[in-house]
């Protein structure tokens, strides 16, 4: 049995070796740098491992501790979820509104689109660094507020404003991506549909509700899935702007993972990683369900 499989593989390799050669690089790379780490990570998550001593098997103890006893982890999960809900609640809406505006007959459309998209091309570290300066006690934002006699605060030092400030920066950085995607999707909706709706006497709101939105549905689903999965991994902004503080008010799941890695709690950090993986796998599953319905 085994030899016949072996022989069949041998024949296949001889006959199709060029094709296998073409995919060899990526397959090896993906195996070494993705599959093996992915499985090792799960194995690590079942151990107590502090770097110096060899890992010791502890079963599901790390998961148990994280979910039942680790308030800091729960806090990071709550913060990240707030980040996802507020960020994804506003970013794609800004993207859609700006795309609808640019889809009118406007002059300098390309220039406006460039302005919205510019931060998307810029590294999050640079964006976060610039905004950290803008949020400074004496920074531009407070200076502008002061000039019109509005109250000011130390945006990133105040536990009540820090997370919100990071969300504002992240939405500012990212929504241009959605603008560009929505604009292309709007332009792909057949003009005849609008003309037909006009003949039927549909007003602007009806046309938006019955032609535009259904036309955008697949793109909206895709944008939300990419957005949710991406925002659950938020790290760079937090590292630069607050390091998870003040009093853990901006601690995110990946920042907490990084923190544990930093203190060489490798087993515990791997369990954090796998819980994040489970959450994102759930969203990916929902995505497949959605797209499955589309086809």
């Amino acid at each position: 049995m085994e030899t016949s499989i072996g022989r069949r593989i041998g024949v296949a390799v001889r006959k199709y070796y060029v094709a296998y050669l073409f995919i060899l690089g990526p397959v090896i790379c993906t195996t070494i740098f993705l599959f093996i780490p992915m499985i090792s990570s799960f194995a690590f998550s079942l151990t107590e491992w502090s770097g110096i001593q060899p890992p010791e098997f502890v079963g599901l103890a790390n998961y148990q501790r994280l979910i039942l006893h680790d308030r800091k982890f729960i806090k990071s999960l709550v913060n990240t979820t707030i980040f996802v809900i507020l960020g994804q609640g506003s970013g794609p809406v800004f993207g859609l509104v700006s795309a609808l505006a640019l889809n009118q007959k406007v002059k300098f459309r390309a220039a406006f689109r460039t302005a919205y998209f510019l931060p998307v091309t810029t590294s999050l570290v640079v964006v976060a660094t610039v905004w950290k300066m803008l949020y400074n006690e004496n920074g531009l934002i407070n200076a502008l507020l002061r000039s019109v006699d509005l109250p000011t605060t130390r945006w990133l030092m105040n536990p009540r404003t820090a997370l919100l400030s990071i969300i504002v920066t992240s939405v500012w950085q990212g929504f241009g991506f959605e603008t560009v995607i929505f604009l292309a999707a709007l332009q792909a909706i057949p003009k005849e549909l609008y003309e037909a709706a006009m003949i039927d006497g549909a007003n602007a709101w009806n046309r938006f509700w019955h032609v535009t939105l259904p036309g955008l549905r697949p793109v909206i689903v895709m944008i939300y899935i990419i957005g949710i999965i991406g925002s659950y991994q938020v790290f760079d902004q937090i590292y630069v702007m607050t390091e998870g503080g003040p009093v853990n008010s901006t601690l995110s799941v990946v920042y907490y993972l990084y923190d544990n890695f930093h203190y060489m709690k490798f087993g515990y950090a791997s369990a954090v990683a796998y819980i994040l993986f489970a959450i994102l796998a759930l969203f990916s599953y929902l995505q497949m369900r959605f797209f499955g319905q589309e086809e």
Partner: protein
């Protein structure tokens, strides 16, 4: 009367639209402007009140400083080297594998492709610790190998190129095969030239991803000489009490190359991004 009223309404609507577009564009551009203007200010003027919109006096000293006293030239070199190598390698391997998955038939093709696609669901952070341990095992920590090799190929890139190459007509490849062209010859002389627009998209996004990458380069490098621009910028803020004009000069150096690439290759950027997202 009624006519002029709708015209007035329309005029108000247009004015409102332009005002909203202009106001929001200003909100997008001010942080960039503030980065540049701060980089030209004296340290003492950074937080001046009222805010100093035009630096008085303007100085290039901070650019000279980040270039000479801080290792920004080295950061820039590292970022350029790593992003270029990662891009070159991805373009080659992903196009080649994309071609095999799109146009060659071999046992296990669809299964292998499916398994590769599934890895797109795995967030990078899951692999972070084992990957770090692996680099340690290879003695690659704090070397270019660790910055380049793990990102040398990407499943997303293979997927993108496969989709692109699927649209090349089979007859073209078959007639070359009849003429006795080797598979690699077909790839090199027919498939690669015809998929150049797809390659441009892949190259732009790979370069951008490598250029802005932060978590991995930060974890896997330890000496100043091996840091990339984003890591350098983030760490310099920690080590020194922040000298904002210097930090902004460094940020501008990190931001400008991508902005310039985007301004010159806007069409490829936008078409590449929307090709995957919007079915036509």
């Amino acid at each position: 009367m009624g006519m002029s009223r709708t015209r007035v309404l329309k005029l108000v609507g247009r004015t409102g639209l332009y005002l909203a577009l202009i106001a929001s564009s200003i909100a997008m551009l001010v942080p960039f402007y503030w980065m540049l203007s701060t980089s030209l200010k004296l340290e003492a003027d950074v937080f001046a009140y009222p805010p100093e919109w035009i630096p008085q006096p303007a100085t290039f000293i901070h650019y000279v400083e980040v270039w000479t006293r801080l290792p920004f030239a080295r950061f820039l070199f590292n970022s350029l080297l790593v992003a270029s190598m990662v891009t070159l390698s991805n373009v080659f391997f992903c196009t080649l594998a994309g071609y095999a998955f799109a146009k060659l038939s071999f046992p296990g093709r669809d299964k292998i492709f499916f398994v590769l696609l599934m890895t797109l669901m795995v967030p990078f952070q899951v692999n972070l610790i084992p990957l770090y341990k692996l680099m340690d095992l290879f003695k690659w920590i704090d070397t270019y190998w660790a910055l380049i090799v793990p990102s040398a190929t990407s499943v997303f890139g293979i997927y993108l190129m496969r989709q692109y190459i699927l649209s090349i007509p089979d007859e073209l490849l078959d007639s070359a095969r009849v003429d006795g062209c080797s598979e690699f010859g077909i790839f090199w002389w027919i498939v690669a030239p015809l998929s150049l627009p797809g390659v441009a998209t892949l190259a732009i996004f790979t370069f951008m991803g490598a250029w802005t990458n932060f978590l991995w380069p930060m974890i896997v490098t330890s000496s100043m000489d091996m840091r990339t621009l984003p890591v350098g910028i983030a760490l310099l803020q920690e080590y020194h009490t922040t000298n904002w004009s210097q930090t902004m000069a460094g940020s501008a150096i990190a931001a400008l190359p991508m902005i310039i690439v985007f301004l010159f290759m806007q069409r490829q950027f936008i078409e590449g991004m929307t090709a995957g997202a919007v079915k036509r």
